[in-house]
Symmetry: C2
Subunit: 114 residues, 2 copies
DNA sequence: ATCATAACTATCCTTTTTGTAACTACTATC
DNA sequence: GATAGTAGTTACAAAAAGGATAGTTATGAT
């Protein structure tokens, strides 16, 4: 059960702001979602997510700083870099799942009433 | 269990984008969170959320358009308006709760390692 | 030597978002 | 009449976010 008094709501607001600070914005959750299908290279990620390199680079750095994504440089012919989710990123599963489900159902709702 | 193949991930990304379109941004979820403690007037909401009237007005309109908040004009001495969550907004509970918990735990994590 | 690929970075620019401050309309009170 | 409270709106400015394009470094293939 969730409390709705003034004090607990202030806490809730703070927590939501914190979450938004880390995974808010247009790309963070999308990138995490993409990375759930396995580690990816930079360009691969850019293609799959439909994001420009400049933004991708910035977003990945932020995700890395927050411990959600790890960057691994591989000693391949042309140096490649692999990005993958960290174990800590799994703590976001509930958020991810909740948003996926809600988005899906909301879309159904919109479509069905047109 | 969650699938991670290319196809289901594309769907997941779409759903996440949809969700972000509706409740993304700096204020939407915060306002919903504030409104969970009961119906509020315009200025009351502005004060509690720390948001300027201009933004508040815009955000409330969008929330209303998406069926998450309802606006009720009351016939009081100075006309007052009550904003409150709709039943449909309850479908966001999982998202809200997940984000509140994650934000809270993430904060703990950050604090404890400083 | 030239071209291609991977992973970025730099520059420039546009759009979106957010904020400030002032102002409107209406009523009630001092 | 002046002032205050409610619910906004308007005009303007600043900042943040996002995007397009080209360039850089490094390596290997042709």
């Amino acid at each position: 059960m969730i409390k709705h008094d003034v004090e607990s709501c202030a806490k809730a607001r703070l927590a939501i702001r914190d979450t938004l600070d880390v995974v808010g914005g247009k790309w963070k959750l999308v990138l995490i979602s993409v990375l759930r299908s396995g580690k990816k290279g930079f360009n691969e990620l850019a293609r799959e997510a439909g994001i420009s390199p400049r933004i991708l680079s910035k977003e990945l750095q932020e995700l890395e700083m927050n411990g959600l994504v790890s960057r691994e440089v591989c000693n391949t012919k042309p140096v490649t870099v692999q990005y993958q989710l960290t174990p800590y990123s799994e703590t976001l599963n509930d958020v991810l799942v909740a948003m996926e489900q809600w988005g899906d159902r909301h879309r159904q709702k919109i479509i069905s009433r047109e």
